[in-house]
Amino acid sequence: MTLKPGSTAWLLRHEARLKYRGMSGTSRAWTLGLLGLLFMGLLAAGVPMGMLLNHVEGTPTRALLLWSSAGLLLLFTLMVSQTLFSSAMAFYARRDLDLLLSSPIPASRVLAARCLALAANACLIPLFLVTPPALTVAALGHPAWLSAPVLIGGLGLLAATVGLWLAMGLFATLGPQRTRTASQVLSAMAGAAFFLASQARNWLPSEQAAAVKARLDALQASPALAPGSPLIWPAEALLGGIGSALLIATASAVLFALTVTVLGRRFAANAAAGAGRDAVARPARGGAAAFSNGAFRATVRKELRLLQRDPALMSQVLLRLLYLLPLLLLLLREGGEGQGGALAPLAAAITFMTGMLAGSLAWVTSATEEAPDLLVSSPSRPGLLRRAKLTAALVPVALIVALPVGFVITRFPQAGLALGLSCAGAGLSAGLIAVWLSKPGRRAEFNKRRHGSWLLNVVQTLVDGLWAGAAYLGVAFGLGWLVLVAAIAAAVTAVFRRPAPVYAY
């Protein structure tokens, strides 16, 4: 199909092509194959759903509508967080933006295409999951259920609109340099907030949990959440309310178009400001400190500085610790109440997270070296440089893990010792495995670091799991058990030892 050059559709095809080419050849083939199979399965899944609907009469119950609303709220929040991050990235994806914005194509059209791509990206997965069964259900005599994909498409447009406004707000408030990091933190926190809320019953003290439950019950009974209320329209649209779905999709499309029109020029200005960010001189804190003595110390210091000065990357690495928060709150509750019943699973979870964190940071310090030729041309020994990089990765991990370990030691000394030992082992094992098995990459590829390296994935998960098991057994049954499993974990780690990188000399 020939598209008119410079049209929105033509720009969209450009975006789609870039996205498609972004996948590696192997993963592209696998992904397409799996998606094909999944599509067929989802089409088939529509058959029992359609047959079930033949026996269901009347409108959806209030409870079903409320649960659907909660699910849609979660989905919409995740979509917004994704489009917020992607919108902010759009200001930094400079290579083609320079070209596009210097062309005679209106900036508003460039923005429209990019935002449509953001919306499509945000709703692609839910749309893919919802559309095939909806098609089957429609074919079996329930065409109103086509409302679900219409609703998802509308939510995608609305999420892109909200994400774009938020990104613009961040840009105006924080400037181009911090927008990307802030959007990353906000989008990750949105996901983590739902996780924290879903775990509230576990980590809140029992009286407070009961109070929250009572408030939620009262909220469910409020007229604002009664069937027919505007707040319930999305849930009704999801469950066959084609009128509500069309209304939401149309309103979203109008808002999206208005946003694109209003923000077009500002988008171009922001993109230009984003491009100039590197030209702004940035004094560094603590830059004039005394010089290092020796290659090991110089390398550790260099790596720590690089970690500290990449807040976007560090937020990616550290935000997963948010998921540890409920565990820590539970730990505080258990410790505060002088009980140790849940300590063993908590110790296992903390140990597992320690391994994950150490593996991530070790990948950053060892696999993303920016000036490998500088190191190779130096007289420093490769093994020494590798140890320095591993040390730099483990320093922040030790500082973070010291908090829960210190707390447990003060309350339950033996359990604290077991936790400390297993965390140390997990950190060291995961770090070593990352140093030994990681392939060179770029910091910007952090989220893709495990693509194409199944061995690294499997070994890292296995070793993290073994150390978590050691922590569980050590806390629950004593240090003897910890030593036994720790020996297995250490042996597995040692199997994957690789010699220091082979330099030319």
């Binding site: 004094p283 290092s292 290659a295 260099k302 500085r305 030729d373 500088l374």
Partner: protein
């Protein structure tokens, strides 16, 4: 220049093949201590590959490299200790400041910290980067990056400095600073080997010039010696270079017509 002193670099029988392409083919090269040696050649002649092998970044398929008497294959640490490599793309960490960059490189070469700090100040002042010492390299212009990389390369006072296209992308003022610095290093007794496409630079700076093509050294010597070798009344280095490498003048056909 001290012709009696041990050579800074002796390369003999050096070979490197990439797939079916013979990048470096039995290269023999001797660079005297204390001279500025320019290695010239057309694109793909094997200049960078040869120098990367000398810097210890690539292992040759055959041949030996000796740096101030230290065999790079047998005593790599000793050989590397006296060499600095400055590629055309500066080896810098974007998120480090100029001063931190020098701190790190000094650490890699084991320079004592007080000494390194003093040298860093001297070098950065010399290259007009002292006021920018606490700025991250990501904010530097191309010329500033190149100068910062050069300062880092000099922090351990290498006896042999190897530069690949050091003047690429520099404005006139920055290019002059770099050239002055290289000449000053040679006056202080260091040896400099550089590659360049700007023949006037080689003509003005170099004590001796080597011309390489197809991975082989076609000729080497002073400009006068090269003119004699090329013969045919060739007076400029450009004439000599084009004559030796066999690249015809683009206007030859036009003149004939």
């Amino acid at each position: 220049m001290t012709s009696e002193a041990a050579p800074a670099l002796v390369v003999s029988g050096l070979r490197k093949q990439f797939g079916t392409k013979q990048a470096v083919n039995d290269l023999d090269l001797t660079v005297r201590a204390g001279e500025l040696y320019a290695l010239l050649g057309p694109n793909g002649a094997g200049k960078t590959t040869s120098l990367r092998m000398v810097a210890g970044l690539l292992k040759p398929d055959a041949g030996t490299i000796s740096i101030f008497g230290a065999d790079l294959g047998r005593e790599p640490a000793r050989a590397k200790q006296v060499v600095s490599w400055v590629p055309d793309e500066p080896m810098l960490y974007d998120k480090l400041t100029a001063l931190e960059q020098l701190d790190f490189v000094a650490g890699l070469w084991g320079v004592e910290s007080k000494q390194a700090r003093a040298r860093a100040e001297q070098l950065l002042r010399w290259l007009d980067l002292w006021d920018n010492r606490n700025q991250r390299c990501e904010s530097f212009s191309r010329g500033m990056k190149q100068k910062a990389a050069l300062a880092a390369a000099l922090i351990h006072q290498p006896q042999l400095l190897i530069l690949d296209e050091p003047l690429t992308g520099l404005d006139a003022a920055a290019a002059r600073q770099v050239k002055d610095l290289l000449q000053a290093r040679v006056r202080d007794g260091a040896t400099v080997i550089l590659t360049t496409h700007i023949l006037e630079v080689a003509e003005r700076l170099a004590d001796r010039i080597g011309i390489i093509q197809g991975g082989r050294l076609l000729a080497q010597g002073t400009l006068d010696e090269l003119q004699d070798t090329a013969g045919g009344g060739r007076t400029t280095l450009e004439d000599v270079f084009l004559g030796l490498t066999g690249v015809p003048s683009p206007l030859a056909g036009v003149e004939a017509a």
